[in-house]
């Protein structure tokens, strides 16, 4: 009963990772594995859709922090989309909105990568 799902959808230039359920110290490694695989494949234009994410702890936030530098060095980014008010409050407490671009919709976040 891990209560967490992560899925990936590759588009032309962008990969969308969708999170569902509870992202904590138990489930963070599942998310980490997906991001690591994207980086290994050099697919570094990433959108994370948080619409169905109900909960995040610092272990989950740590995953975003662990990849952002590497991804940006390769001219990519991690853009966030569709997060709930509850999840946003945790991001906000740790000052994440100054570090990450956050969009109301997945489409807007994807659009941001278009040349």
């Amino acid at each position: 009963m891990s209560g967490f799902e992560v899925s990936r959808k590759d588009m032309d230039r962008v990969s969308v990772v969708s999170l569902k359920g509870y992202l904590d110290a138990h489930t963070a490694s599942d998310f980490e594995d997906v991001l690591q695989k994207l980086v290994d494949e050099d697919r570094v234009r990433i959108v994370v859709n948080l619409r169905d994410l109900h909960y995040i702890s610092s272990a989950g936030l740590g995953v975003f922090m662990g990849f952002i530098e590497n991804v940006r060095q390769r001219e990519g980014d991690i853009k966030l989309a569709e997060m709930s008010e509850k999840v946003y409050r945790v991001f906000d407490l740790l000052g994440f909105p100054v570090l990450y671009e956050i969009f109301d919709s997945e489409a807007e976040a994807i659009q941001k990568y278009q040349p």
């Binding site: 009963m1 891990s2 509870y22 904590d24 138990h26 909960y55 702890s57 922090m65 407490l93 740790l94």
Partner: protein, 145 residues
């Protein structure tokens, strides 16, 4: 109005798959104490962070140790006491971080403590004489007028 304090206890092995059970335990009690949705989330997140620190730092991910969680519901506050027998943690070494510098350096470890201090009204660490470590967190119920 009742003035008494009631205590509830949960003892679990030090595994991250138990965090969900811990969160449900404290969230149900916080709801029972009369906290609103936002405060329940704060309490549940603070206790998750405390237990995650115990598992990852005090027990260094050993899965067969105990985490002892006591929740006390009083008339004006909820108190959570998390006790472990792991490596002693010295909170004096950890200051509230300068967030910009923190994020710039991508240091992950201390975020949980920062969150606990931000989410709860009071957070105290103690080393007990019998070698146990304890973190005590309090959240006050707002007086309703």
């Amino acid at each position: 109005m009742t003035r008494k304090t009631t205590s509830y206890r949960l003892k679990l092995p030090s595994r991250t798959d138990n965090l969900e059970t811990v969160r449900k335990f404290v969230a149900d009690l916080a709801r029972k104490a009369g906290f609103g949705k936002e405060d329940i989330h704060k309490i549940e997140l603070a206790v998750d962070e405390a237990c995650t620190n115990v598992i990852e730092h005090a027990y260094e991910n050993a899965e067969d140790q105990d985490i002892d969680i006591v929740v006390k519901l009083g008339p004006q506050k909820l108190t959570v006491i998390v006790t472990d027998r792991g490596k002693t943690f010295s909170p004096g070494d950890i200051e509230t971080p300068d967030m910009e510098q923190y994020i710039a350096e991508l240091r992950v470890g201390g975020l949980g403590i920062y969150l606990m201090r931000t989410l709860m009204d009071k957070v105290q660490y103690r080393s007990l004489p019998d070698g146990k470590n304890q973190v005590k967190m309090e959240k006050y119920l707002e007086k309703r007028s």
